[in-house]
Symmetry: C2
Subunit: 660 residues, 2 copies
């Protein structure tokens, strides 16, 4: 069955041996999955997966996602056995050690050959949906000759119990992502015991209810698994679930099939008997030469296919465009178009909500950047994320550029991660800022991976008004600022909104959040400059008339209040400088000299933001004054709420006077 | 069919009229759902729901949850029509205005008769699962005479697209919550258009795959709806889904059945035609007298049942125990038992992980507080949440006190909210702190509602070790501190862990998070006192030997590092005070005088926490030094990570020396 005369089981046992050895040496790890899924994974890698270990970034490779990321030794074993230079036997020995290529969970930014970071359950399957969407979209734009690959997933019970898996599978079923194939490690065991302590779901029926092709096979029967994958590949209209009935901890005499088989290492006697049972090499970290040969042959299966693909690419007229997009570089002309828009906005001096300004910026940017794919979690009209260039992306038009994600914030964020990891597209999407809480797991994974995804989050404060406290972000800007490697930008007007988009798009190594108002904001930036001031995080928007006695630092919709307060203070002969701080993180990354220049070393400070103070002391000091929220919002018209919660220019004036 | 000779449709039209009027007056609101679901809701409230508007807190009332919370005018209309004093016609007129009883989404802390706060989609159905669990548990403990009621939910397409709904329904199906009945407003319309822009799921098949009884009826046919509810009630082994095929915006001539019917108000001509079509009163905010009579009669249906119930309660021996638990008061003897444990721990001076200390505290507390119901999202052994007093809660033993929630963090948190809103039980549950991101939507709703739920979140830093950055919280403590009305406690040893539990349990108006270590911590508290020091948020744990020149402020596992640093500094004749700050929020609520006493007004400060600095400046000042994390963690043994990221006593010493 396999690519040589070596039996599938013997090849699978090499995975089992390396996994057992590595987890034993590390003294910690998850052995249950590699033992249980080795047979099915061997079928996939040795017979089906299109990949070339010598060209791990080959654009048209099949994508493989180990959604059950705790079983990382499965993927490290596969990468080593098939010949990826990124995972040597020495790397396997360093499993879970500091600085190793083989961390506890698969991290794509550490190990070449790992397509995406997994571990938090359910993320992998949802990320894979994004990869499969990107594949269909790129296929529609570049044709079968350049883009025509499958996305495979191994998912466990845990992945399928997580809510995100439902969002992902219903989206995939709706779209009809026929080239998405999920192998479900159906071992009926979870950490707390049998899955029957907590679940009674018939997974095949569940997936079928959302339009998937479903199949159930003995996961230890390579022929059955291969036939199921053939059936899955043959159905290009529906994504496929293959429930592989497996025994967790396969081969372990007393642990197999039980909750205690999930982790590892197993006790010494259990491990010894496991090795005995399966006939694994007694010497650690070795692979029988003919088995290794078989694996290397499996790894070399697609070299010619890859070379032929490269020849096709080189012969094509639009090769450079494809290569540019896959490299994540923006096309020519974006800056010029964006700056022309900025100039127009600065000259127009219109009052609009920043979500509307974002829509206007997107109209320009999606026109200039054909690889941008937008979307919304069922709030298209509110998020202003759809433009004249972005028609719906679905099976009627895979070349479309707008995703109707449905009410699925978490899968939306994860799918965007997957699109970004796939490459060739730049995803952005919208929801209300308050619902960042729903997608936070995926937002964080994007930050960890350094994925260029852009989260448009509108209705960014009590300015949302009547929908009330469940929908009003209060702590969300703070809680996102707390997350490493993410830029939270809260622009104050149309000019800053375009600048924020430019910053987000030019950021190749991490996600951005644009926090945007529901309500109109008066223009703050009146003079055009090509310089991107948002890129500095904060800047002096309006210098004090006369000597500055106080600095008013504001973000987003509250910049207007600071400017009003500046006028009122000027009427009392008090000079107040107004600093706009659209991105606290970027500002705190600037030089001390620049920060001091903007904030004034010894000037008293007032922060103004319709959110909690938490985190602001790093800018205004613990003795600074703050005008903002102390708790949850309320349901009322926005204007009433700003008065009720005392977020007004008068409150800013009072705070300034207290400080002087 | 209804409780009088007035037709169901006429009663339903009273809901439609009030909803139309209120949304028109407010100028904003969601009219589609009240118009579409009025018929089915009338059947439920007029024929089935057991409730008494004059005793809204009657313990054995049926619970009704409007999961599709945006349709709030449905519930306000029902409360007013059935005679709840909490919603007068004047209140209806004040829909969505500041300080009104009728906010944009139903808020149970504002409007009596609203059982739980809804609006963020999917929360209601998951919260209702918790209510239904509490009902079965209380029933098992107190018998049918005291506890025997149903939990009804109205959910929309949006609720069912959210991942949390899958976690909730699979949990309910697994448990066999036969007294949970969900009416699905199957209108096939969503904000972005028809649901078919984003979804193709057969909801009845989906629910059936997890063991629900499913039914599909014409939601505008009261007899059909009533028969379906009868079938649902009759099946006490399975929860029931009744898909009510409805027309969104029912009665609106051109809007009905379309995406634009979701919101409101409709344009004037549409509204006029709607009123005409349905024969609604031309005068606003009026109800035809005989229709109001019929509604009031419906509201009075269960008065006798309620009185009989009260008579039974008063006759029972354990009435006071029931009443105590429902009032949320702790039993006698808890403080004594807790303090005895504290004393034992202080004297024992053992080194254990705080998650283990939490397990030990729970052993005492679950013994003393019979209404505590624990659980874990499939990490029971890691979270140390199960005790000898808590056996599994399921259909084999509803009196059990331990929930195997499965890998369902979000529904777990929401179900806990539901248990707390139901009353009579005190829920706590565990997961890894990193996965607070998965349940954040529900955690926030608990904070907004002021629900006493306790989140045990273990593996609270890089001390988690080898599982790596996906599993290592870095910003989670900060992001939870940013949330209003939640106490995040990070105890440093066994004594503080028990104190944190005491603080959490005695807090009746909001949730608590216990952030606990995976790794062992050396004891910090050596002398027993009955005083709860955690309750102050921070306190001087160890005064400087000699004059204090610097204050070291630490939390959780890093308190040990601060104490080590204190010794090292003392060896250099530098006096350092060590402050333990298990709860920043509680500390910042203390008097200025106490804060100054602890922190020392003019002393330089060093913060120590294996997390991000974000938020710490409010304690240490923006010029304070901080020993902690600057970004994501890594996969390695914990000890290596603390060295790698320079979170050591030597680093604390260096930071202190810089400050002096």
């Amino acid at each position: 069955m396999s690519s040589s005369t070596v039996a599938n089981r013997d090849m699978a046992n090499a995975i089992r041996a390396l996994s057992t050895d590595a987890i034993e040496k590390a003294g910690i790890g998850h052995l249950g999955l590699p033992l249980g899924m080795a047979d099915a994974a061997t079928v996939l890698f040795a017979q089906f997966l299109k990949f070339d270990p010598t060209a791990p970034k080959w654009a048209d490779r099949d994508r493989f996602v180990l959604s059950a990321g705790h079983g990382s030794m499965l993927i490290y074993s596969l990468l080593h056995l098939t010949g990826y230079p990124s995972v040597s036997m020495e790397d396997i020995k360093q499993f879970r050690q500091l600085g190793s290529k083989t961390p506890g969970h698969p991290e794509n930014f550490i190990t070449e050959g790992v397509e995406t970071t997994t571990g938090p359950l359910g993320q992998g399957i949802a990320t894979a949906v994004g990869m499969a969407i990107a594949e269909r979209n790129m296929n529609a734009r570049y044709g079968d000759e350049l883009v025509d690959h499958y996305t495979y997933v191994i998912a466990g019970d845990g992945c399928l119990m997580e809510g995100i898996s439902q969002e992902a599978l219903t989206l995939a079923g709706h779209l009809g992502l026929g080239k998405l194939i999920v192998l479900f490690d159906d071992n009926a065991v979870t950490i707390d015991g049998g899955t029957d302590v907590a679940d009674s779901t018939k997974q095949t029926a569940r997936f079928a209810s959302s339009g998937w092709q479903v199949d159930a096979v003995d996961g230890h029967d390579p022929e059955a698994v291969a036939e199921a994958i053939e059936r899955a590949k043959a159905n290009t209209d529906k994504p496929s679930l293959i429930a592989c009935k497996t025994t967790i901890g396969f081969g372990a005499p007393t642990f197999a099939g039980q909750g205690k088989a999930h982790g590892g290492p197993y006790p010494a006697d259990e491990t010894a008997a496991l090795r005995e049972n399966l006939g694994l090499p007694s010497e650690r970290f070795t692979v029988v030469p003919e088995v290794l040969d078989a694996w290397r042959a499996a790894g070399a299966r697609s070299v010619d296919v890859r070379k032929a693909w490269e020849a096709r690419l080189n012969a094509l007229d639009n090769a450079s465009e494809f290569t540019r997009a896959m490299a994540g570089k923006l096309p020519e002309g974006v800056e010029a178009a964006a700056n022309a828009h900025k100039k127009e906005v600065a000259e127009g001096q219109a009052t609009k909500a920043t979500r509307q300004w974002s829509g206007a910026a997107l109209e320009v940017l999606t026109g200039a950047i054909p690889e941008m794919i937008g979307g919304s979690a069922d709030l298209t009209g509110s998020n202003n994320t759809k433009t004249s260039h972005t028609t719906a992306l679905n099976s009627d038009d895979w070349a479309g550029r707008y995703m109707h994600y449905g009410v699925r914030e978490h899968a939306m964020a994860a799918a965007m991660n997957g699109m970004a990891q796939h490459g060739g597209v730049i995803p952005y999407s919208g929801t209300f800022l308050a619902f960042a809480d729903y997608s936070r797991g995926a937002i964080r994974l994007g930050a960890l991976m350094g994925a260029r995804v852009i989260h448009v989050m509108t209705h960014d404060s009590i300015g949302l008004g009547e929908d009330g406290p469940t929908h009003q972000p209060v702590e969300h800007v703070a809680s996102l600022r707390a997350m490493p490697n993410i830029h939270v930008m809260r622009p104050c007007d149309g000019v800053e909104t375009m600048e924020a988009w430019q910053v987000a798009l030019s950021r190749e190594n991490g996600p951005s959040v644009l926090a945007l108002t529901r309500q109109g904001v008066v223009p703050a930036r009146k003079d055009h400059t090509d310089e991107n001031l948002v890129a500095k995080g904060a800047y002096i928007l309006s210098e004090a008339k006369g000597e500055a006695q106080v600095v008013l630092i504001a973000t987003g919709s509250e910049v207007g209040l600071a400017l009003e307060a500046q006028e009122k203070l000027a009427a009392q002969d008090i000079g107040a400088r107004v600093v706009s701080m659209p991105c606290m993180e970027l500002f705190l990354e600037q030089s001390d000299a620049y920060q001091a220049e903007v904030l004034g070393s010894n000037l008293p400070k007032v922060g103004v933001e319709a959110g909690v103070r938490f985190g602001w002391d790093s800018v205004i000091g613990s003795d600074g004054e703050f005008v903002g929220m102390n708790g949850f919002g309320a349901s009322a018209p926005a204007k009433d709420l700003f008065n009720h919660f005392n977020i007004t220019s008068d409150a800013v004036v009072d705070a300034a006077l207290k400080q002087i």
